[in-house]
């Protein structure tokens, strides 16, 4: 292979295309031969060839990039394999899994953090997405511009370069967010009390979650003993383990545009006649929302809940950008996928990393199955 990385990529891409066309042709010919042997009509033979020929890129890619890796990682998850091994890995049985579930404090932290994002972050994110969708659904002029503005963060927000602006904004001393909080609390003392109460409640909740992670509640006792925060206190966003989860929640809320669009589609599907009939019967706007829109939205709420839950397991970019090098903070904010990455690529322990990926995959499959089971129970699908 040529040393120049650009030429290398071009040559590899060309060879890949030749490989795909060649093997597609092979797969199509094979399928046609089977159909011919079974006595298919010429038209059927031709369609079989074309079908396998056109579908082959996916079929081959599925075998190379999904089936083989999954099989290998299942095997490796029962071994002590490392990238540097030149000899065959040793079979260790269930040891990786047992260590992961019973002894690994980092993995435990990632589970507790996921729980936090699910219990505290997800309802906030979905609530704001629903609020924005209801506001946009009022059908007024300029709706399109607002909709774009609310979706824009989703397009930008997964870019590490863009996420760095949050690192700048959340800086405890000089960041714009704390500056705004400071200037408001000094000019209006009443709001200052509300902010301090918010800080207190937030720190107690976070100390509790950190307590579950660590297995002792010393920090929680300390926070409660310290009592009501002093007048000049501001949030310590990216500085203290008590605060490190909140920026991630803020980013979840900032990127709620996808959920908002799903809710908007749901609101659009609600028949106008139902709303109008209720209005004629004298139902208030509030009643119409809770009694008509909300139940009819339940499939969309449920969908967003499941997708949101799965994506909290996979939060990666925000943690990397905000906390990458900051050792005491990383465990307090880490997601399961981030932990997988950290564990695999800092020590190149492939066996252990494979075990983590299988655990994550099983969790996601369980969530998805629960979705299929429960959605018939409490979600209103039939409206007429």
């Amino acid at each position: 292979m040529p040393d120049n990385p650009y030429i290398n990529l071009l040559v590899t891409a060309g060879l890949t295309i030749l490989f795909i066309i060649g093997s597609s042709y092979g797969l199509g010919t094979l399928a046609r031969a089977i159909v011919r042997a079974r006595g298919g009509t010429p038209k059927h033979q031709q369609n079989t060839f074309a079908g396998y020929f056109f579908a082959a890129p996916w079929i081959i890619g599925f075998l190379i990039f999904v089936v083989v890796p999954l099989g290998l990682s299942l095997y490796w998850s029962f071994t002590d394999y490392r990238v540097t091994f030149t000899h065959a890995p040793n079979w260790v049985g269930l040891e990786n899994y047992i260590h992961l579930i019973t002894k690994d404090s980092g993995f435990r932290a990632s589970i507790v953090n996921t729980l936090y994002y699910t219990i505290i972050g997800l309802p906030l994110q979905m609530g704001i997405a629903l609020l924005l969708a209801v506001l946009l659904n009022q059908k007024m002029k300029g709706e399109r511009v607002f909709r774009m503005a609310f979706y824009l963060p989703v397009v930008l927000g997964f870019n590490a370069a863009v996420l760095l602006v949050w690192r700048l904004m959340l800086n405890t001393g000089t960041g714009i967010i704390n500056q705004i909080i400071r200037s408001i609390t000094t000019s209006v003392p009443a709001i200052g009390y509300v902010v301090r109460a918010g800080i207190y409640v937030h720190e107690v909740i976070n100390a509790f979650f950190l307590g579950i992670t660590n297995g002792n509640f010393n920090l929680l006792n300390k926070v409660i003993e310290t009592g009501f925060p002093a007048a000049n206190r501001v949030p310590l966003w990216v500085q203290s383990p008590l605060w490190s989860k909140m920026p991630i929640v803020l980013l979840m809320i900032w990127g709620c545009g996808t959920m908002m669009l799903i809710f908007l589609a749901g609101l659009n599907n609600i028949p106008r006649e139902l709303q109008e009939a209720a209005e004629v019967d004298g139902a208030s706007g509030w009643q119409r929302f809770w009694r008509i829109s909300f139940p009819l939205l339940s499939p969309y709420i449920f969908y967003n809940l499941i997708v949101g839950l799965i994506s909290t397991l996979q939060i990666f970019e925000p943690i990397y950008v905000l906390y990458r090098d900051n050792q005491p903070l990383v465990p307090s904010a880490i997601s399961m996928v981030y932990y997988l990455w950290q564990k695999t690529f800092s020590h190149f322990e492939i066996g252990y990393g494979s075990a983590i990926s299988w655990v994550i995959m099983i969790i996601i499959l369980i969530i998805t199955l629960i979705q299929f089971r429960l959605q018939n129970r409490w979600v209103t699908y039939d409206i007429y």
Binding site: A55, A160, A161, V162, L164, E317
Partner: protein, 280 residues
């Protein structure tokens, strides 16, 4: 009375929506504003909304920095090559699933839909080992080549849905005229699904341009870095004073293509999100 109430209601609505827009777009504003400041302005207490004397120094520094230019080119180069290959292969596979009757089609399609449940991150460990074995670590190949195998089941699904809606008579009459499947695909079907193709390429562009995990794992030298990886190395926790104007200028230059694409393709994006229900 009722009319006045309507007016009040719409005023409140606009105020709420404008407030939400300001909050959602504030990071973008702050990014641009900070890129025009001096280092001391970004690192000192006191709010500077818009710098009194905007400075383009950060942009000039970046545009004269050969590493940054190379990194920018790397992003453009890999994203372009990946989009072209991925788009063509996805269009081919979607054609097979929508316009041709072949034995096993429904089973293969079902398997493809089920792969959407596999989190991509569950595959990164074994894929890394495979790419390491064939000496692809330290090249662009692992972040571009897998897409050539119709990477992205949800995108195939989106395109298949659109292709299924085209009347069957169209390709049947072309068949009678002696056209091959390849000609029908290229000359008849693809021109009819231009809009869905635009949706798919927009999603692919956003995903590739923002990709962090892949480049982080495989591009192990600065000369190969793409924009997200390079820009995040500009922020270094060991430095006491962060070069914020430079970091923000790099972020702005990274964002510009995304914003341009978003403005031109927003119709496709906003519709595509609802069809696939996926993250953009």
């Amino acid at each position: 009375m009722k009319r006045n109430w309507q007016i009040v209601k719409s005023i409140v609505l606009y105020i709420l929506l404008t407030a939400a827009t300001i909050m959602m777009c504030f990071p973008l504003f702050w990014m641009i504003s900070s890129s025009l400041k001096t280092i001391s302005e970004t690192n000192s207490p006191g709010i500077v909304w818009i710098p009194a004397q905007p400075s383009l120094q950060a942009y000039l520094d970046l545009l004269q920095n050969p590493t940054f230019l190379r990194v920018y080119f790397n992003s453009v180069f890999t994203t372009t090559l990946a989009i072209v290959g991925t788009l063509i292969s996805i269009a081919a596979v979607a054609y097979a699933f929508s316009r041709i009757e072949w034995p096993g089609r429904d089973i293969v399609f079902f398997v493809m839909l089920s792969t959407m449940m596999i989190p991509p991150q569950a595959l990164i460990v074994p894929q890394y080992v495979l790419f390491n074995k064939i000496n692809w670590v330290g090249t662009f190949n692992p972040i571009v080549i897998p897409g050539y195998f119709a990477g992205g089941a949800s995108m195939v699904f989106l395109l298949r849905q659109s292709m299924s809606q085209i009347p069957k008579e169209l390709d049947e009459s072309a068949f009678v005229d002696g056209a091959s499947h390849f000609q029908i695909w290229w000359n008849i079907i693809l021109p009819l699904v231009r809009a869905p193709l635009a949706t798919v390429s927009t999603f692919l562009f956003v995903g590739l341009w923002n990709n962090l995990l892949g480049p982080l794992m495989y591009l192990q030298s600065v000369g190969l870095y793409t924009l997200p990886v390079y820009t995040s190395t500009l922020y270094n926790i060991n430095q006491t004073v962060q070069p914020w104007p430079t970091i923000m200028a790099a972020a702005v230059l990274t964002t510009v293509p995304l914003i341009i694409v978003f403005f031109f393709a927003q119709r496709y994006i906003l519709e595509g999100v609802v069809v696939t229900g996926m993250k953009g």
